[in-house]
């Protein structure tokens, strides 16, 4: 399996849901500001609330419209001895992490990812940390196996 893969299509749903949550969070702070203003009548609270509402709207529009872009230009490749992450169209970035340098892999899933049956992967080397937003459980399992196999093979990757 050496060809580049898109993230699973469900990730778009995950991003959209998290965009909505971020918006709600920001809007919630704004609403709280308005409510407190109702009781205490501090003028600056209204301005702050307005700021948070604007942030909420901008955040929502930007995140939502970027979802297809992020999806189409975010690719990962899992080869025998490296993980490659490719992202961006205007600013293109290709990261390669030799599996022999990987110290640990963390698979995690919050409620949103769980609802889509996905896992977030965090790959840590001695100095850097890289994230794959979501993969199917089989892929996570494969990654884990490969890293274990190489960790036994390669002994000179000590820092």
């Amino acid at each position: 399996m050496n060809e580049s893969n898109h993230l699973p299509a469900q990730i778009k749903t995950v991003w959209r849901i998290s965009a909505i949550f971020n918006t709600l969070l920001s809007a919630g702070v704004g609403v709280a500001g308005v409510i407190i203003h109702y009781f205490f009548n501090y003028q600056w609270l209204l301005y702050a609330a307005g700021f948070f509402f604007v942030v909420a709207i901008i955040d929502f529009v930007v995140e939502m419209s970027l979802v297809p872009y992020r999806y189409s230009f975010w690719l990962y490749t899992l080869s025998d001895d490296a993980v490659e992450l490719r992202s961006g169209f205007i600013f293109r970035k290709l990261v390669s992490i030799p599996i022999a340098r990987v110290q640990d892999v963390t698979l995690s899933a919050g409620p949103i990812l769980q609802s889509q049956k996905l896992q977030e992967v965090r790959i840590t080397t001695a100095s850097t940390s890289h994230k794959i937003d979501g993969v199917k459980p089989e892929v996570g399992e494969q990654l884990r196996k490969q890293i274990m196999k190489l960790a036994v093979e390669v002994r000179n990757n000590d820092v």
Binding site: L94, R101, S127, T128, V159
Partner: protein
């Protein structure tokens, strides 16, 4: 092997108090009001009340001292500390990155020193183990355990001889003349001079207003001379200060290697020594600022997964503070056996790539210049030299960018703020790497290469910008080889 718990030297109570002197002072200041009131209310002298507080503080640190113990076992070092929250830190000898010991001159007769032991763990708060004040014996014991573990079980009776091993020995001591040049060519003096001139400016601003109505032009002229002299004095003092700081810091710098361990020693008032296994060095950095480039002297530092070394913030482990540029690798090779034997002829950027460096640096400088022009109008023109300096900096960066693959090492060179750094990175120590390109660069056929190396508790990113796309791809493919 001793496995009993040992205490620090009792003098470390003073060290604890000294280290927490801010807390102590704060406590005394906050307490001063209430103590005076209560003391007078009860009918005792306030001084007595204060003595009780001081006594309590001393008692607190004494308890801390009593709770602080360490054990040197056959395979790990254990440190127990804490009064209410008990902490036990276990450090296996094989995981130790660096052992650093510092000794103030007044502690030399007592054979006492501060020991700091670091592993590759990500502990942001400092070394994994600090023994504030212990006998020199302790370090000898720990080092013996460590080297003893690395080698195939030496007989117990030979251990004492191993403390002073002679084989595979290499020594280096700093050349006083070179140290002088090194101290004089530090760019660190410029900020100090800048600060001096800022103070000078402030004085000059303040003085005329006081003098305008009462004094003659002659007097003003005289005071200007005085002020000029003061300004000159500030410059001289700051140069001298910077010079003396550097000289005392690297005074009699020594480097020696024994049994695959590299040991540095430096300092006049405070002797500071770091021991690191050569195999733990992640990369080498050969650094020189523009003045040192003219003087043909260089600095060699090691990147390692430990924050021990030169400066608490920069984590740079000095290997050779100053050495003649043409002798760098001759001097270095006996100590670090994988170091190259000579400078490699690097590949450099094509002239057309210089433009991008100059453009970027100039654009960044506009962040300072445009607000200046907007706010101060005509006076803002004074900020224009910043643009020139920035452009020069961009040109310098471009001219000093270089790269080369030599056997299993990647050699990268960059220039930042008129300082050139050349990195020698063994292939196996590159943790991850990036190939970066913007959509416009796909047309100009240029790319950036970034390489990540472990340094201190974090990451050192080394970037070569605007190199030809094909070369970038070639380096990237080379990095991919397992």
């Amino acid at each position: 092997m001793t496995s009993n718990q040992q205490h620090l030297n009792p003098l470390s109570i003073i060290y604890f108090i000294f280290r927490h002197s801010w807390d102590t002072l704060l406590l005394l200041i906050i307490g001063s009001g209430p103590i005076t009131r209560w003391s007078t209310a009860i009918g005792i002298a306030p001084l007595l009340g204060f003595s009780v507080l001081v006594l309590l503080i001393i008692l607190w640190h004494t308890v801390r001292y009593l709770c602080f113990t360490f054990e040197i076992d056959s395979d790990m070092l254990t440190i127990n500390s804490g009064i209410f929250v008990k902490r036990h830190t276990h450090i296996p000898y094989t995981r130790i990155q660096t052992i650093q010991h510092t000794q103030w001159f007044f502690l030399v007769p007592f054979h006492l020193e501060k020991l700091q032991i670091e592993t590759a763990g990500h502990d942001e708060h400092g070394p994994e183990a600090v023994l504030p004040l212990v006998n020199e014996r302790v370090r000898a014991e720990i080092e013996r355990q460590r080297t003893g573990n690395a080698e195939p079980a030496p007989a117990a009776e030979h251990l004492t001889e191993q403390l002073k091993p002679i084989p595979e020995h290499a020594d280096y001591e700093i050349n006083p003349h070179e140290l002088n040049i090194f101290a004089l060519t530090s760019l660190g003096v410029f900020p100090i001079i800048g600060a001096g001139f800022a103070v000078y400016g402030k004085i000059q601003e303040a003085i005329p207003q006081k003098l305008i109505d009462s004094l003659t032009a002659k007097l003003i002229h005289q005071s200007a001379i005085i002020l000029g002299a003061i300004g000159l004095l500030i410059v001289i003092i700051s140069i001298a200060g910077s010079y003396l700081t550097i000289v005392q810091k690297y005074y009699r710098f020594r480097l020696n290697s024994t049994n695959d361990q590299l040991k540095t020693e430096q300092g006049l008032f405070q002797r500071n020594s770091v021991t690191i296994p050569i195999a733990r060095i992640q990369a080498l950095r050969i650094k020189q600022n523009v003045i040192r480039q003219w003087c043909h002297i260089s600095t060699v530092q090691a990147l390692a997964a430990s924050s021990a070394g030169d400066d608490e913030k920069s984590n740079d482990l000095m290997i050779l503070p100053v050495v003649k540029t043409d002798r760098v690798f001759d001097t270095l090779h006996p100590f670090v056996n994988w170091a190259p034997t000579h400078f490699s002829q690097l590949d450099h950027l094509a002239k057309r790539a210089y433009w991008y460096f100059i453009r970027n640096a100039t654009l960044i400088s506009l962040v300072i210049v445009l607000p200046c022009l907007y706010l101060f109008k005509l006076w803002g023109l004074l900020s224009l030299p910043v643009v020139v300096i920035a452009a020069l900096m961009g040109w310098y960066s471009a001219a000093n960018t270089g790269w080369k693959i030599v056997n299993d090492q990647l050699i990268l060179q960059d220039g930042h703020f008129f300082t050139r750094s050349q990195y020698v990175i063994p292939h196996k120590n590159i943790q991850s790497f990036l190939f970066v390109q913007s959509i416009w660069m796909t047309h100009t056929k240029l790319a950036h290469i970034r390489v990540n190396v472990r340094h201190g508790n974090g990451n050192q990113l080394i970037e070569i910008r605007y190199l030809p796309e094909a070369v970038g791809q070639q380096i990237f493919e080379w990095l991919k080889i397992r």
